[in-house]
Symmetry: C2
Subunit: 314 residues, 2 copies
């Protein structure tokens, strides 16, 4: 199973890379079904203002996760793939590329896989809990209680995505369509994850979605790269596979946790230029080395994990 999974995804990646700037006519896309729904969510009591200046106890829903799905004909032959985006992004990140090419969502559907795109809890169509911001505005909480809103600047994005050694200077061998970088910057939206309780409800909701679908491959990227593992540690029963893309790995799991993860085929993926960008908030070479350690730990526990890095010529 793992070998197949690895082969499929590496082949996909190569194909996606080969697709770059090729503008061939596409066949119509046929879908068995599509739609959207929410996973999780809890009722929370809030004091809402009334027209006469008082407040009235009301309820809002928080911690729900928005999911959009597409299933191709015959898609039930395969476990669906759940894609979760990174910091300061939404599931837009899996759709049409900044220069207008097909995104991974449609690419996987055209390869026969049902695809589920999730917006992280507290981001995009999942919404966020506004009660702290409103309490600070009302004067019942101090400004220090406001969330730390992460807004990835163009400069931070350039560094974190490793477009080049310094802002505005791309690597000569880069495959990102740098002429369309302004379109990527429009995907960068404020990140309110600092509002979230522990464990992160996105992890819980990913595990619940995998159960609801009677099994799913969970995929995360960057901020969410290790969310599939965290979801599996909450409830592994629906997690049929894990794809973790470019993130720091946890390397101090206890034996029972590693035993749980060892039962799930796992693919860890990194791109190139891991050590060639300095000064940004990420240290990708260190992250990759940590993930190599994690992969060894999983395999030493009887697991089936692999890491792939473009740096190694994979």
């Amino acid at each position: 199973m793992k070998t197949l999974l690895t082969a499929f995804f590496v082949t996909s990646l190569i194909a996606v890379a080969a697709d770059i700037r090729r503008d061939e006519p596409k066949k119509p896309l046929v879908l068995e079904s599509q739609g959207s729904f929410f996973v999780g969510g809890e009722k929370k009591a809030v004091n809402a203002p009334t027209p006469n200046g008082g407040t009235v106890e009301s309820s809002i829903t928080v911690n729900q996760m928005y999911v959009q799905y597409q299933t191709p004909p015959g898609g039930d032959k395969h476990a669906p793939v759940v894609m979760v985006h990174g910091c300061c992004l939404s599931s837009k990140t899996w759709e049409t590329t900044p220069d207008g090419r097909m995104g991974w969502n449609e690419y996987f559907v055209r390869k026969g896989r049902p695809v589920y795109l999730a917006d992280q809890v507290s981001r995009a169509r999942s919404g966020f809990d506004p009660t702290k911001i409103n309490a600070v505005k009302a004067g019942t909480l101090p400004p220090s209680e406001l969330p730390q809103v992460l807004a990835a600047s163009h400069q931070v994005a350039w560094s974190v995505f490793r477009f080049g050694p310094k802002f505005g200077t791309p690597f000569s061998d880069g495959q990102f369509p740098i002429e369309a970088v302004d379109e990527l910057y429009k995907q960068m939206i404020p990140d309110l994850n600092s509002l979230l309780p522990n464990p992160n409800p996105t992890w819980t909701n990913m595990a619940a979605l995998a159960v609801k679908r009677h099994g799913a491959v969970l995929m995360g990227h960057s901020e969410s790269g290790f969310f599939p593992e965290q979801a599996a540690l909450i409830d592994p029963s629906g997690v049929k596979g894990i794809i973790s893309i470019e993130m720091p790995c946890v390397t101090n799991f206890a034996a029972p946790q590693l035993a749980t993860l060892a039962k799930i085929p796992t693919l860890v993926m990194f791109g190139d230029h891991l050590g060639d960008v300095t000064g940004g908030p990420a240290n990708w070479l260190t992250s990759y080395q940590g993930c190599e350690t994690f992969v060894h730990q999983v395999n030493n526990s009887g697991g089936d994990a692999d890491d792939v890095s473009a740096e190694d010529g994979n």
Copy 2:
């Protein structure tokens, strides 16, 4: 053109109503193309914190509008429909219904229409400008400068959507699947429109999208119900039709503005029980009466506008 438009949408509404709780097998959905992109967006200078406690001038992008589209085969025979959601919602509102039926987005695509779903600027996948929140947290702005974050409570949603005379008591003739109301509450996400400049960038971006598509029908609902008209007053050149659903109308436009709107076929739609819910933030009967006045004003300027209300048996 207007008569056709009216006939199509009224037929659609009746068909959607008839669809309720009918669970017939659906044919596969065939798409000529799908994807997502952004309209608009401007670069804004911000001071980002550095690891040594200082700040560095950086840039973020604000006021962009996320748009997701699907085009059926032969869809270029029709002007696309751009759907914009209301307060405290995202474009989820046009997708799968709370009880799992097909949403208006797919319904229109299956009727041969290209559909564009926009998230309003400052909402969902369009992101928002976080600089005021961060400045208050940093102590450089007072808490009073925080945006008024609108969080529609369950109680407010019940009243605004007119599910019944009081919270928890539905109308006996309601068509909303009240057993699934908790799923609707999950769609209600914080509304940061108070952060927006004037004119609202969503209006500007809707007008620009209509131009980009060489003509489009603009549709808004509730908070955004009058956005199509506002977009047309910024640039009418791409606006081939307007559908305004349940909102207050502006009734004091000057003659040149009415002359602009009079050139665009316009349909204004309201549901039932307009006067049967009191105490909430909306007064729907007053809104409907104002819109009747607006429709008369447009028609007196030589226009082709119509209003439809389920209250009138339409």
